[in-house]
Symmetry: C2
Subunit: 190 residues, 2 copies
């Protein structure tokens, strides 16, 4: 998505070979109209797939998950985060490791919110090592629901999370696949 | 807002005299189209007030802050949460106490995202004791910006946070002011 790539180039800040900050429009400050455009584009890519639910994890994926759900006219569920195990009778849960925060965190979803009949589209702002997505996919499997695919705004391709998911047969769509941040320069795939 | 009150009555669950769960449409699963309606109503109430920025704190306020920002055509900033003090040169921050989680948490915002000229509308899903709002108001004061008011979806009036803010002269608009949850029954003001 060219407009997104342009925005990353003009507003993004490369802090290191692995860290790209897009605080000004994606995950600290959000540009609502641009969020709607991002949601529309993700929805367009999964338009024929019978998605019944959009799924993300708090916090920074919520904005674009909401606009994707709005475009697809389906509810949005966000997994909640908690430190420590919180596996309860009423929740599906998974433990994921955050490389950013360098800690493990438990993500959980009330069982009522994902049913076996659901066809679930995972949406998130970033895909790096894929830990959050692995956890969400686990929750979808616990519910016996179908994972339709994964819609991502910025994929850091060089961190391998996307490749691992695709190797398992998961369809991953990234609106801006970044193949390198070396030398402070953002380089996109294609 | 009658439609919201109806939804609270039909879908909400009163877990105790102080806890109302609205997981199915507001803060675990989100109904995107209804979120847009909520955002429109908050925007309508502050339409003439020259709001330049909507401000919330992660995570559950993000959806309705986004739709309010969309209706007002202004950016949305969300404060990030961290345990432990993270006061840095580049952030405004405040320490708040979460009664739900029974822990203190530091909320912070990059200084670039709120300027002295900004006229800020705080938006959140719930107002109970008002700790999160107190912290956000502190951050707005640190930035030298103007707090235009506070827009809330569900105010638990009996927990006093709204009264404390109003006593300080802050304009608080709640779409569903709940005056009691006693006996498992949701009672609204008016």
């Amino acid at each position: 998505m060219q407009k997104l790539k342009d925005k990353i180039i003009t507003e993004g800040r490369v802090l290191s070979d692995t860290v790209l900050k897009v605080d000004s429009f994606l995950n600290h400050q959000v540009d609502p109209e641009f969020s709607v455009e991002l949601g529309h584009e993700l929805a367009r890519r999964f338009a024929g797939d019978g998605v019944t639910k959009v799924f993300t994890v708090e916090a920074s994926g919520i904005a674009v998950a909401l606009t994707t759900g709005l475009a697809l006219k389906v509810p949005v569920v966000f997994a909640k985060k908690k430190r420590g195990a919180t596996q309860g009778k009423n929740s599906y849960s998974s433990n994921i490791y955050s490389f950013t925060r360098q800690e493990s965190v438990d993500i959980h979803v009330n069982k009522k919110l994902i049913a076996a009949e659901d066809r679930v589209l995972i949406v998130d702002d970033f895909l790096a090592h894929g830990e959050a997505l692995r956890g969400m996919a686990e929750i979808i499997a616990q519910a016996g629901a179908t994972l339709v695919g994964v819609g991502i705004i910025i994929e850091k391709v060089f961190q391998g999370g996307g490749a691992a998911l695709r190797a398992k047969g998961v369809r991953v769509e990234s609106l801006a696949p970044v193949i390198s941040l070396a030398g402070g320069k953002v380089e996109f795939a294609e």
